[in-house]
Symmetry: none
Subunit: 213 residues, 4 copies
């Protein structure tokens, strides 16, 4: 969905390109946007030159990963809209599930420069606009439904979403997982029209839950 470069690539080249993007995605996710290109190439099983045949420089690679993420997220979001019975449920699912989108946000955040890059590449900019447009539709529909408070806008929702796009400071344990879900629930609750508190998942977290030693 908007992921291919203009001229068709030979099948093997296409496969390499995809493997590079995948490798980059996971290195960026775990080591940040400065992850060594050589490692990325090695993970993709190609020589460094091959990486550079496909992407002019690090920035181009980052943009490609961001676009790829955005496209996947967009697909997920479309599915959510199609399959969920209410706009609110779609919104919840979009926010809860889009791991890919979160990485996009992280990259954009870390490389403010990339923002500009994305806008220049028509394809990338398209994906971005589509994502925003879709979110906007869902938000407005949820407000019509009366499930989303009406004093927030799509921008507010996107912003809150961006908050969750960061890795949490504690290691990736079951507790961290739980913490993350509880945060998400609290955030969603604050967006909900009406009063009553939902039940939060798991149990309240106290100091002893977040301190290892």
């Amino acid at each position: 969905m908007g992921d291919e470069p203009q001229p068709r690539l030979r099948a093997d080249a296409r496969r390499n390109r995809d493997r590079i993007v995948d490798a980059a995605k996971s290195w960026f996710a775990t080591h940040g946007p400065e992850a060594p290109t050589e490692e990325i190439a090695r993970s993709a099983g190609v020589a460094p030159g091959t990486l550079y045949r496909h992407f002019a420089d690090r920035e181009a690679l980052i943009a490609a990963v961001a676009v790829n993420n955005l496209d996947h997220a967009l697909a997920e979001a479309h599915a959510a809209v199609a399959e969920e019975s209410s706009a609110w449920d779609a919104l919840v699912r979009i926010l809860r599930q889009s791991t890919e989108l979160r990485l996009s946000f992280r990259l954009l955040t870390a490389y403010p420069h990339v923002h500009a890059v994305l806008k220049k590449e028509r394809e990338a900019d398209n994906s971005r606009r589509k994502m925003i447009a879709l979110l906007d539709r869902v938000v407005r529909r949820a407000q019509s439904e009366g499930t989303l408070r009406t004093d927030v806008g799509t921008g507010d929702v996107a912003m809150m979403f961006a908050l969750l796009a960061h890795p949490l400071s504690i290691e990736w344990t079951t507790t961290a997982q739980l913490a993350s879900e509880r945060c998400m629930s609290l955030l969603l609750e604050s967006l909900r029209a009406g009063e009553a508190h939902d039940t939060l998942p798991g149990h309240a977290l106290w100091p002893e839950d977040i301190t290892t030693g």
Copy 2:
């Protein structure tokens, strides 16, 4: 307040150390934890050698900055508790005002390693424990007051706090500022015991508010 290295330093050395920590703090805040040591030294008005006389390596410097931040945050938090009339207000003030504390979180997040470092240095670990203990007291008191929902714990509060410790992805404009404040308000609201929505600051943000082009 727990900031000094064991042996007393000559006055000028002490001053250098402080200037380095200050310089590092602002470079880390603006350029992230990979900011070049040479630039930090230059900003502090010292030669690189001097920086390394005081701090064995980048990690030591990060730890020092984190401790320093924590100490300042602790002081602010104490003031909040002393001066605000309710635990809730104290909590709000702590969460809203502690820029220093947010930076600490960011550093810890980016350098998970530092976590361990901090725990090893008795002094640093002390500050950390004190901060957690204070927050814990405020949280429990706010729950007794009936102002904080009782299905969340200190760990949840800290976690939400951590979310706000990241820079937002859009540039530092008035809108970004507003977005940030609205997020904070929503977060606080989700922690609040009881129903009614507060009025959010400013106006709802829509796509056109967060898109430049």
Copy 3:
């Protein structure tokens, strides 16, 4: 005229080979002998692999260009001899007009290695010998005519020629053009038979003095 590789080439292969040599010639002329092979291939409208099917490596390509130049220069020189009424006029025309020959010299100068390469390929060496022989005839004839000073030899003439084979350091403006022509005139004048010549150091240089093998 001595330009074809031993076995006959298919017509399209032949055309490719020629286009590559032409492209290389102009890249070498404008960007020097280190011009990227990929660019040369692109200019020739072929893929890099095709370039390498015709020429084993950069050196082979340079040799081919040098030979090609030499052949063209030889043709020009023959025409000059045939059409000019005196040996002196022929010499002047040869020196003034042979842009191709100048490039040959430049390449040989930059890649002393190529010298050896040229001598090994019978065909290339033939062209070289023919060029020298022709020049030698013209020089001796001009001296018989009494138009060329007799204390210089073919080697001296070739050497002065080599001097003009380099691009001038100032940009390619009208002035540069003029400067270049004035130099040429001065050089020719110094070769002219006439009164009151200084004694030149050493002895006249003849072909055997500048040819190793």
Copy 4:
């Protein structure tokens, strides 16, 4: 003479800088301006980082070498003027002896870009202007003396000089040496005032004709 960077350097740093320039000079002379910086550093007996501490990039190094050459040439030229009894003899000596100056010309020729670089650095530009001014004085004085033909200008002399700034295409044997000297003699002879000169094309070239700014 205009060779030192603004602030005084520590003695050892100064020595390193000089050794780097010397090493670069000889690598550039023998391998052209693309000679690997690492080799240059090794020849100078320093690590690559040291080279880059002194010179921001290859271009800066080239500029430094060019300036250094120019300064040496300037000194030689001053000596020639002071010690020779006629302007003509001074001119001959300047042209014959300035090996350093020839290298400068070669670098400028190969890196047209460097021209611009040189003009930006005040010090470099000064040296260049001084050299031209000195040559101009000698030329005009030689013409007053009646030893230099009056239909040539300083620009023409500089241009002819530039011709000799290139390495000759044959290896560095005794014959090559001789060839080179004979060329020089012929060139000088063509500049000599005397009878029966041909008319040169255009007009004499003076400094203002070959200087852009």
